[in-house]
Structures are given as structure tokens and as C-alpha cells.
């Protein structure tokens, strides 16, 4: 059965937007019977990406906007985030060293690493003055 459902949210960039968005994502996830783990990973990614973008990328931008799209297809779930901030490619960030001991471990870089680890495909492009990051997660048949 072909199934396609979409959530599209246009945010004015405030840190507090993360919470109301998380609520919408949970409701969308429940309505589409997505596994808890997948909803959690989407909200983890959104918390990280929106916080970064609001704190750095959109600083000083005249009409800052963030657009979030979540699409459920038959075999995959895609999260797209677009913003009109400074060009920033999160896929180019180096991964943190996760093997080091507690006292040697750097405290940053973890969020982006988690996002990249959990997504099956990550794509970044800068087009028409916008950053566009797409994260795709495969859905197993049992999960649908």
C-alpha cells in the first residue's frame, strides 16, 4: 500500500521553538505508527540542528527562517531542514573520538555525530541562498 504523509513546519528561529516542534513530531509519529526510536532520533536531530542554526547560522540575518519537513514514504522517513543563514555543512564536521577515556574525551561534536550515525543517508546542499540538509532513515517492514 502506497503511503505518504508529510509534516511541514515553518519556524521563526527561537530556541523555544524546539519544544513545540518536538510535540508536533511526536503526534505525527504516532499518527503514522513510527517506532519510538525513530521519533526520538528525529527529535534529537532537530534539537541539535535548530539550536546550532539559531545560535550561530542565523545570527544577524535580516529575515531568519527555518523550514522543517518530515516525509513518511513506504520505505523511508526523510527529514529536511532549510534555513537562510550562513552556509554551514554539518556533514563536513569531523567525528569525535568516541574511544577515548572519560577524562580525555572532548565534550563537543557529539550531536552531529549521533545524527550522522543514525541516518542511513545524509545530504547537504546550499542552493538559492539556503542551507538544505536532508536525513533519510530506512523503515523496516516490521516497523510500518
Amino acid at each position: 500500500m502506497a503511503m505518504m504523509d508529510e509534516l511541514h513546519v515553518s519556524l521563526s528561529p527561537r530556541l523555544s521553538a524546539v519544544r513545540s516542534l518536538a510535540q508536533m513530531v511526536e503526534e505525527f509519529g504516532d499518527a503514522n505508527k513510527l517506532p519510538d526510536q525513530q521519533i526520538y532520533m528525529i527529535n534529537l536531530a532537530l534539537d541539535e540542528l535548530i539550536t546550532n542554526t539559531v545560535s550561530y547560522g542565523l545570527r544577524g540575518v535580516t529575515r531568519p527562517r527555518i523550514e522543517i519537513t518530515l516525509q513518511v514514504g513506504e520505505t523511508s522517513l526523510a527529514l529536511t531542514m532549510e534555513d537562510n543563514g550562513q552556509p554551514f555543512d554539518p556533514t563536513a564536521n569531523p567525528d569525535p573520538d568516541l574511544s577515548s577515556a572519560v577524562d580525555e574525551r572532548p565534550v563537543g561534536g557529539l550531536g552531529l555525530h549521533l545524527i550522522k550515525t543514525f541516518a542511513d543517508r545524509v545530504n547537504y546542499e546550499y542552493v538559492n541562498g539556503k542551507n538544505r540538509l536532508t536525513l533519510e532513515h530506512d523503515l523496516t517492514p516490521e516497523a510500518r
Partner: protein, 113 residues
């Protein structure tokens, strides 16, 4: 944004129970709660996740900072009672190899003494 953190004491172990959502919005608030205890001399901390529904990387970062500070003073940090989807994230990020995670409060307390 402040986070609600319940606190319980079991002999020399202090158990912290953050409630609800620990994200970029309240990670700083959680950091001051935890680090205030560390600076006032607590050496054995357990963070019980049973009332926590969501933790982002900024919340995990606070646990890493606390683990480092406690380790420097010969103390311990043990986590327990995580929901499955949260434990999965800790496993994939490699956190379970640097901060012990126990199934129950009892085993966390046993590991702290």
C-alpha cells in the same frame, strides 16, 4: 528554562532524578544542579532516568562533564533505569563504555558503593 530534578539520598550516594525532557533548552540548568553537588563535595552520584522521556546531546554533554569532574576526585557517576530508546542512543554513542549504565536503582547503588 529550568529542569525539575528530584533528589534522594541513600547513605553516601546522592540519587538525582531529572523529570521530563532534558534538551538544549534546560541543559544549563541541569548542569548547575549537578555541578553544585559535585563542588559541594558529593562523590557518589546516581542519575536515575526513570522519569526522563527525552535527552538530547546537550544533556549527555552534562553527564560527560560530571563524570570527568567526579573521576578527577576519585568519585563515581552511575546511570540507571533508562527507557530502551534512550539506552540505544547511549550505546551507539559509546557512552555506555565510559559511564556505567544499570538496569535498576538497586544495581546502580550497588555499583556506587
Amino acid at each position: 528554562m529550568d529542569i525539575e530534578v528530584a533528589e534522594e539520598r541513600n547513605e553516601d550516594v546522592l540519587v538525582l532524578l531529572p523529570v521530563g525532557r532534558l534538551d538544549s533548552g534546560n541543559a544549563r540548568s541541569f548542569e548547575s544542579v549537578v555541578m553544585d553537588h559535585v563542588s559541594s563535595g558529593e562523590r557518589r552520584l546516581v542519575v536515575d532516568f526513570s522519569r526522563l522521556d527525552f535527552i538530547s546531546s546537550s544533556g549527555m554533554r552534562v553527564l560527560l562533564i560530571a563524570a570527568k569532574a567526579l573521576k578527577a576526585g576519585e568519585g563515581t557517576l552511575v546511570l540507571c533505569s533508562m527507557k530502551n530508546h534512550i539506552e540505544e542512543v547511549f550505546r551507539i554513542s559509546g557512552f555506555d563504555r565510559i559511564i556505567p549504565i544499570k538496569d535498576s536503582r538497586e544495581s546502580a547503588l550497588a555499583a556506587s558503593s
